[in-house]
């Protein structure tokens, strides 16, 4: 296919694309700014009733009994369900085709069976003719608990005499086989070379412990869905998620239904950041609908979102780095313990794999412990596991630079990972842009400006893998030559615009003549969910192939009309031209489309792929802060995010991802944390107390786009959505540490903590 070659040639010769790299208005923009767009809670159906969830008031307890009689008798109540209404799932049932997950754990997380494992754990659900009645009925459901001691931190949970959450859970990965049940699900280890021996050659060593707290993804739109199951057992679910096919697969498994009987229609999504890559309400709504015979709508409150969904792991990390006096790194170690929440599966392994990846190290080890605690089950959050690891590693690098009296960016440049560097998880990097981001950061005006009193500057780098995976796309040419591009990925960060731009580039027609659609599960073939920074890369690759398929179809039609071989037809700027002779008038896409009936019927292209070649992402951030030593308040003065994006398809949305990730990381560094009381009950269940950054807290986040094209994508795309949250924790901590002259190793750096730190030091 000639087109594929041309794309990368264009990058190599710096030839300008016609559409890629431009900044048109997003196709969904008008609906979103005018309020017409339909999000999860906006859908209604005829005869719809409303569901509410009864949640555990305890962090850890046995369920002795649940009495639903009073609730069922209440006027207006149409259905009540508990965990006993769900199919039993075998504990070993961990994998199906569409997703890899422990269904046993997920089923118990959706609704408790014999035990509740965290404050807010669902124990029953009720559906009634109004939300008010449903809430009143929920209050009538009597649950008898036997309260158990709660284990809230990894330190407590790893103690030998700690109460065990899951009897029978034994630690995988120990040198000698585990003998008894434990809260430690897994010990994992990655190693290159012999770090213990190599540390003997180090002339300078830094070593320190770091802690972070549980934080939530903080998406603005709470979880919401409507589910309806008809008398013939056909189900339809409208929901806000990061993947309609993911919802279908999980609901099918948890409710023991055939996939073909479930149709999932995606709504717009008001933020997910990984927290909507699984289901909470959908299986409950479906069973309530089954019992009541009515469509059931369920919408979480903010309190429910914070108590029972997300979050990402808090944890503890210990980083040690050894270097020569000239700054050459000789050895490094990282050991981390992450909270998994109520069920095994924190992202500690990914933290281990990412922490030292920006550096070229021959001798390095990373050990991770996955630990269950009585908190909500950790869900994915932008670059899962990587920010906490980077906080430890990048803080240690900053401390090392101080000790060596070397500029922190120079130290990183000296040791930067490049093509051929072997990461701690064994893989050699292909073409990457780590060094390029460091050099661009060093060249920014920001890095040169002088600082004032109580001000500090911090830098940090970060890495994220990015993934490919399964994506499908259909390109439909309408009779007037306009085009529909249908894919199966919810648009979280402007992907409709990116899909349309890539299709426009291949088809050679104006962006405004392309309508990108996010289709339901019965209108396009399967696609993996929107996550892992994969959509612009993988689904974009599918769109490019589908558009090429449509172009080839149109070239065939033109060849047929002209009675020439298809090789004699050239496609450029949306026009087919006969190379062989000029007696045939070139045909536009509209002309070819108009005569589709005469040349073989409707014109379309399709592609169903498992995309290979995802390019790794690296970023370097610079942060300036000013700390008020009396109040401990930290003002972020200036912030610059530098990132290798491969090729920016729509630079505004790339910049938006970089800015959004930076701001979420700043919130993680400065203010966000779950606050539990002594009984393990969450105390800050709203955005007034769980403090995410708002626009007035932040300066404009400056962005520097670095483009080191990914050879694995026809236009050089790398995923951009996750790596921007990796460096900020350390960048901010390093800035604050320099501003106050004390190393900050415990997040969040809230005003009381900073004041206490300054007071303790003085």
């Amino acid at each position: 296919m000639g087109n594929k070659k041309n794309h990368l040639d264009a990058i190599k010769t710096n030839e300008k694309f016609r559409f890629i790299g431009t900044r048109p208005i997003r196709p969904d923009g008008v609906d979103k700014v005018t309020g017409r767009a339909n999000f999860g809670a906006d859908f209604s159906a005829n005869g719809m009733i409303h569901g509410r969830v009864v949640r555990s008031p305890y962090a850890h307890a046995k369920i002795k009994s649940i009495n639903i009689e009073k609730a069922l008798k209440m006027k207006g109540v149409k259905a009540v369900i508990t965990g006993q209404d769900f199919p039993k799932i075998d504990p070993s049932d961990k994998v199906v085709g569409e997703v890899t997950v422990s269904f046993y754990d997920m089923s118990q997380n959706v609704i408790a069976r014999d035990k509740v494992f965290y404050d807010g754990h669902a124990v029953a659900a009720v559906a009634a003719t109004s939300t008010k009645i449903a809430e009143e009925a929920a209050a009538l459901i009597e649950v008898e608990y036997e309260v158990l001691p709660a284990v809230m931190t990894v330190i407590e949970a790893m103690k030998k005499n700690a109460p065990v959450l899951h009897k029978g859970m034994k630690t995988e990965g120990l040198e000698s086989g585990p003998k008894r049940s434990s809260n430690i699900a897994t010990r994992t280890e990655f190693r290159l070379g012999d770090p213990a021996e190599a540390f003997k050659d180090a002339e300078v060593i830094v070593e320190r412990d770091y802690t972070t707290q549980t934080v939530h993804q903080g998406y603005i739109e709470p979880h919401a869905c409507v589910a309806e199951i008809s008398a013939d057992g056909m189900a339809t679910i409208w929901s806000s998620s990061q993947g309609q096919f993911m919802v279908r697969a999980l609901v099918a498994k948890l409710c023991a239904m055939n996939t073909s009987k479930i149709k999932v229609i995606p709504s717009e999504i008001g933020g997910g950041f990984g927290g909507k890559t699984l289901v909470y309400l959908e299986p409950l709504a479906l069973l309530l609908s089954q019992q009541s015979g009515r469509p059931v709508k369920m919408v979480m409150t903010r309190e429910e979102v914070l108590r029972a969904t997300g979050p990402t792991s808090g944890g503890h990390a210990r980083a040690k780095i050894g270097a020569k006096k000239d700054g050459t790194l000789v050895a490094a170690e990282l050991e981390m313990e992450y909270e998994a929440g109520a069920f095994a599966g924190s992202p500690v392994k990914l933290g281990c794999m990412t922490g030292f990846s920006p550096y070229n190290l021959e001798h390095v080890s990373c050990i991770g412990w996955d630990v269950v605690v009585n908190r909500p089950k950790a869900a994915a959050y932008r670059a899962p596991g990587a920010p906490v690891a980077a906080f430890a590693v990048e803080s240690a690098m900053d401390e090392l630079a101080e000790k060596l009296d070397i500029d922190p960016l120079e130290l990183r440049i000296k040791n930067a990972a490049v093509e051929g560097t072997r990461a701690v998880y064994g893989v050699k990097f292909p073409k990457i842009g780590c060094l390029e981001t460091l050099r661009e950061a060093q060249a920014t005006e920001h890095y040169q400006i002088p600082l004032g009193p109580n001000q500090g500057r911090g830098v940090a780098s970060g890495f994220w893998f990015n993934i490919g995976g399964q994506s499908s796309a259909s390109v439909i040419v309408n009779p007037d030559g306009t085009v529909i591009v249908a894919t199966g990925n919810p648009d979280i960060g402007g992907s409709r615009a990116s899909m349309a731009l890539m299709a426009a580039e291949v088809l050679g027609i104006d962006y405004k003549n392309i309508k990108p659609l996010v289709a339901d599960t019965e209108s396009v073939p399967f696609s993996d969910l929107t996550g892992g920074s994969r959509v612009t890369f993988a689904t974009g690759k599918a769109v490019v192939e589908a558009a090429e398929d449509a172009v080839n179809d149109m070239k065939r039609r033109a060849a047929k009309v002209w009675d020439v071989d298809i090789d004699q037809v050239e496609w450029k700027d949306g026009i087919a031209t006969c190379i062989e002779t000029d007696i045939h008038k070139p045909m536009t896409i509209a002309e070819i489309a108009a005569m589709a009936g005469k040349t073989g019927g409707a014109i379309s292209g399709k592609a169903n792929i498992n995309a290979k070649g995802a390019g790794a992402a690296f970023a370097t951030h610079i942060c300036d802060v000013e700390v008020d030593p009396e109040t401990g308040y930290v003002q972020v003065l200036r912030y610059t995010a530098v990132q290798d994006v491969g090729t920016a398809i729509h630079p505004s949305y790339v910049e938006g991802q970089m800015q959004g990730g930076a701001v979420q990381g700043i919130g993680w560094a400065l203010n966000e944390e779950y606050v539990y009381n002594e009984e393990g009950l969450l105390q800050n269940t709203g955005f007034l107390d769980y403090r995410v950054p708002v626009a007035s807290d932040m300066p404009m986040i400056d962005t520097v786009i670095v483009e080191v094209p990914n050879p694995g994508h026809p236009y050089g795309v790398r995923g951009v959505g996750e790596v921007p949250i990796v460096p900020p924790l350390a960048a901010v901590a390093n800035a604050v540490s320099h501003a106050i002259g004390i190393r900050m190793a415990d997040l969040p750096m809230s005003p009381p903590k900073i004041v206490a730190t300054i007071d303790a030091a003085s």
Binding site: E172, G177, T186, E189, L350, A383, G426, A614
Partner: protein, 82 residues
């Protein structure tokens, strides 16, 4: 022979801690079959929550991916995304 590297926790549970294995195979399915013959039960474990990197390229769905004579094959934690 492809050089196959297993995660520590899998190697400790099934292979007496031995992480590196040289296996003659043309695809990952054949590698898993060979390992299963030597270390019963490991096949199921490798199919649970793991990705595979073949000569630097990471595959989440890996069963039928081909390997070369001197390929480096790493079984890795599956990479979830946010």
């Amino acid at each position: 022979m492809a050089r196959v590297n297993l995660p520590v926790e899998v190697a400790r549970s099934y292979c007496h801690g031995e992480r590196n294995h040289d296996i003659a195979a043309s695809d990952i399915r054949a590698i898993v079959k060979t390992l299963e013959l030597q270390f019963p039960g490991i096949g199921e474990r490798l199919n649970r929550g793991l990705a595979v990197a073949i000569d630097g390229e990471i595959f989440q769905e890996w069963l039928l991916q081909e390997v070369e004579v001197n390929s480096e094959v790493y079984f890795l934690p599956a990479i979830e995304g946010g």
